[in-house]
């Protein structure tokens, strides 16, 4: 955000406009700053627990466990900014992966099976879009319904088994490009791309406008329905890719792939300063929050905290982060 370079056209009278906040406040008092500070804190605390935390390779390798959710969280951020929400992503991951594995097992060559998985993910996103945008049902309940449905379908397809994938497909988290694991690289690249999209392109601008006031946006000629639909389809697409990456990392596919992922994704978005009611948030914030969550989770594991305790911490974090974000945003409103 930059202040006006040219002089405003008239002097301000006391009645006419409230004085703007000082520049330093504008830049510093934002949710992303809070996230950044927390990230630094988390790294410091974790490095006290274990010196590995200062080793970049270690951090990168640990992040691969969270890269898949982080990828989807980026798109979820955009969905929330636009005023909707999608809780079905983790189930989408599972169903896409199951369909891929199942068709592969049934004889389809892997590239085609992958296409099936991705195609399914897109279709699932489109179904969400149809119900929410086309039929105007509330996205929160629709995606609760679809998250149950997709996970259930995955259960039907895969049953209780683990479907194993071919060796040449496994281990994407160990493939390195310039020393960086592929999933992490994908995350960084996607963050850059979406960050650019959201802040520098007109579609990004319109996403914020839709989330701020969908009626004003429609009156201004913005095709709000199309944009929201596209975002939900994009969620489906991102979820399927994330599901396939997870399958590669784990080596096999089960119906419970990504279970509980919806919490982590929403948490990343909230920790990154996304306003739950729409209109505010940033890719940078979610990017930092993803790292923050990875550091916290890895730190907890290193500190030998039980998975159960970690779950509690995440639950508390979600609540605290939404309280803090709401407070910051309501303070800055006049």
């Amino acid at each position: 955000m930059s202040m006006s370079g040219g002089a405003p056209s008239d002097t301000v009278s006391a009645l006419d406009a409230a004085a703007p906040r000082p520049r330093w406040q504008v830049i510093l008092i934002r949710p992303e700053t809070m996230t950044f500070v927390l990230l630094v804190l988390a790294i410091v605390v974790s490095s006290l627990l274990s010196p590995y935390f200062l080793d970049l390779t270690y951090i990168l390798a640990s992040f691969t466990l969270y890269a898949e959710f982080s990828l989807v969280a980026l798109v979820l951020t955009m969905v929330i900014i636009a005023g909707e929400i999608d809780l079905s992503a983790a189930s989408n991951m599972a169903l896409s992966a199951c369909l891929c594995a199942w068709t592969f097992r049934a004889g389809l060559p892997l590239p085609l099976a992958l296409l099936v998985g991705v195609g399914a993910g897109i279709l699932m996103g489109a179904l969400n879009g149809l119900l929410v945008i086309g039929l105007q049902l509330p996205s929160i309940i629709v995606t609760i319904g679809t998250l149950t449905l997709y996970r259930g379908l995955a259960q039907i397809i895969a049953g209780d088994q683990s479907i194993r994938l071919p060796d040449y497909f496994i281990g994407i988290n160990t493939w390195l490009v310039a020393g960086i694991p592929v999933p992490v690289l994908l995350f960084v690249v996607l963050s850059a791309v979406l960050g650019f999209l959201l802040s520098e392109t007109i579609w990004g601008r319109q996403i914020y406008q839709i989330g701020t006031s969908v009626i004003a946006a429609q009156h201004s000629g913005i095709r709000a329905k199309r944009i929201k639909f596209a975002l939900l389809v994009a969620m489906g697409f991102a979820s399927s890719i994330a599901g396939l990456i997870t399958a590669s990392r784990l080596g096999s596919v089960r119906y419970d792939l990504g279970l509980g992922g919806e919490l982590q994704m929403v948490l990343m978005a909230m920790l990154g300063g996304t306003y739950i009611f729409g209109g505010r948030g940033s890719i940078l914030g979610t990017f930092l929050a993803a790292w923050l969550l990875a550091v916290i989770s890895t730190g907890m594991t290193t500190a030998n905290l039980l998975p159960a305790t970690q779950l509690c911490v995440l639950g508390v974090l979600l609540i605290v982060s939404i309280i803090a974000t709401n407070l910051i945003y309501s303070r800055t409103q006049r």
């Binding site: 955000m1 008239d10 006419d16 004085a19 601008r205 406008q209 000629g221 505010r280």
Partner: protein, 510 residues
């Protein structure tokens, strides 16, 4: 026994002194003194925005006065909120009645009454009986075991009145109650109002329908521009007197720039109909012409504008732009065809409150600031600076959230947004509402210039002087239809108002 108000002097039921109310920096009520007597039906008259509704809301606790006192039965009171008002015996019946649509009539009557522990047994049988009794008392046939959602507006109003009776309200305020009613329903309402008056209660009746006021009311108070200008017995006024008091102020000298050539038809609408909202709307606006669209609130003008612009399209009818028939089902199509629409409610449909001013300005012209998709901020700034200069928008920074600007400057920003689309046809819906006098003048100049530059302008306004000063022709809508097409030479405040009031009033006056 039929007694009129003047037979009961003594302490007024409610005395208001010096009531003043400001919203932000705009004063909507100034130093109003008013006495309401027991056992009278008292009308509040005035144009839209004159302050009568605000005054009524202050009585009912919806707003609190910035200054001034209210005295009830000789004791000063503070009506802090509607619940306190109810306890004090004051009930406001809104035009769109407030209720719980999924609960039954009987329940709506009872909810909010004092007393009883939360776990107390709901006395359904007794409730239903009492409800039926109330309905019988009012003489209306409403099934009290039906949900409110299924009732007509008239019936919902009856329920609200019954509520007032159930809590023994002494002061009942009705805000434009007859607008959605059939003549028979109006008769029923009036009979009830008279009975309540005869019981010694006070009814405050806000309405535009002069002949109804004459039939029903004892005294009338006229508001104008936030001031109370008169309180008299209804007999002391003729209709002409009343209208003159309501709108009589020196006409401003904003004469439209003559010499603007009026060109061909830019916007033509034929037979536009949306059942239940507007019927058979046909109008034309030519290049360089300013066509006014007057009428009362609820006449359907904004709905017509929204239909033309594609926000909620009409069910049938034809629209042509520059002679070519078009189909508009979405605002983006309308914009592409050269239409622009400045909506009436800028807070809900106009501004992006938390987003920067310059982003608000460029919201409708993405192609100009991001030709290849990527936003060119320098281009945006240039456009914003240009707009700010031309429209004299006062702001501290281009990046400040538009919500921090004053109402007038917000409105200018919205206008700037639409001017950037270089529209051929500009529809303005109450563009100067809630704006200070000084800024209004600027707007009038701008509108005149826009017409002079060849645009076709459709100006929806409830302010008669505004219509008279700016328009080449004034169309008037009433109850969903166009009732008059008055050229400038023959346009007067009376002629517009006469066409605007409902058919029943017009016929009675004829």
């Amino acid at each position: 026994m039929v007694e009129t108000a003047s037979a009961m002097p003594d302490v007024p039921l409610m005395a208001a002194r010096g009531i003043t109310k400001s919203f932000a920096s705009i004063e909507v009520l100034r130093d109003v003194d008013l006495d309401l007597r027991r056992g009278e039906i008292h009308a509040l008259l005035g144009e839209n925005g004159a302050g009568k509704s605000t005054f009524a809301k202050i009585l009912a606790g919806v707003h609190r006065p910035t200054r001034g006192t209210l005295t009830l039965n000789g004791a000063q009171v503070e009506v802090l909120n509607p619940i306190v008002a109810q306890r004090l015996g004051i009930t406001l019946i809104h035009q769109e009645p407030i209720c719980f649509p999924d609960l039954t009539v009987a329940e709506n009557l009872v909810l909010g009454q004092k007393g009883g522990s939360p776990l107390a047994r709901v006395p359904w049988a007794e409730m239903t009986r009492n409800a039926r009794q109330l309905m019988d008392l009012l003489g209306v046939k409403i099934d009290v075991s039906k949900t409110m959602r299924g009732l007509s507006i008239a019936d919902q109003q009856m329920v609200e009145i019954a509520r007032a009776l159930a809590s023994d309200s002494r002061l009942i305020i009705m805000d434009e109650p007859t607008a959605p009613l059939t003549p028979k329903e109006v008769e029923t309402l009036f009979a009830i109002a008279r009975r309540l008056r005869d019981e010694g209660r006070t009814i405050v009746f806000i309405s535009h329908r002069l002949e109804e006021v004459r039939i029903l009311c004892n005294r009338v108070t006229i508001f104008r521009d936030g001031n109370k200008v008169a309180t008299e017995d209804i007999q002391s006024f003729t209709d002409a007197d009343i209208i003159r008091q309501m709108i009589g102020r020196p006409l401003r000298e904003y004469m439209k720039k003559h010499g603007t050539t009026i060109g061909e038809v830019a916007l033509k609408v034929e037979g536009l109909t949306l059942p239940g909202v507007f019927f058979d709307i046909s109008l034309e606006v030519r290049k360089g012409e300013i066509v006014g669209l007057g009428g009362l609130v609820g006449a359907g003008r904004t709905d017509v504008a929204r239909a033309i612009f594609g926000v909620s399209p009409a069910a049938s009818g034809k629209i042509s732009i520059n002679g070519k028939p078009v189909q508009i089902s979405d605002p983006s199509q309308a914009i592409a065809l050269g239409l622009a629409f400045v909506p009436e409610d800028r807070a809900a449909a106009g501004i992006f409150r938390t987003l920067p001013v310059e982003e608000n300005i460029t919201a409708a012209v993405p192609g100009k600031i991001a030709p290849s998709g990527v936003i060119r901020r320098s281009l945006e700034r240039v456009l914003a600076e240009d707009s700010v200069r031309k429209l004299r928008i006062r702001l501290a920074s281009f990046r400040q959230p538009i919500g921090e600007l004053s109402g007038g400057n917000q409105q200018k920003t919205i206008l700037a947004r639409w001017l950037l689309t270089e529209p051929r046809v500009l529809i303005l819906d109450e563009p100067t509402r809630g704006i200070d006098i000084g800024v209004k003048a600027e707007f009038y100049d701008m509108i005149g210039e826009l017409a002079a530059s060849g645009r076709a302008i459709l100006l929806i306004s409830s302010e008669l002087p505004e219509l008279l000063a700016l328009c080449d022709r004034v169309l008037v809508m009433s109850e969903g239809r166009i009732t008059a097409n008055i050229p400038r030479e023959r346009a007067t405040q009376e002629s517009i108002m006469n066409a605007a009031v409902p058919r029943s009033t017009r016929e009675a006056a004829a």
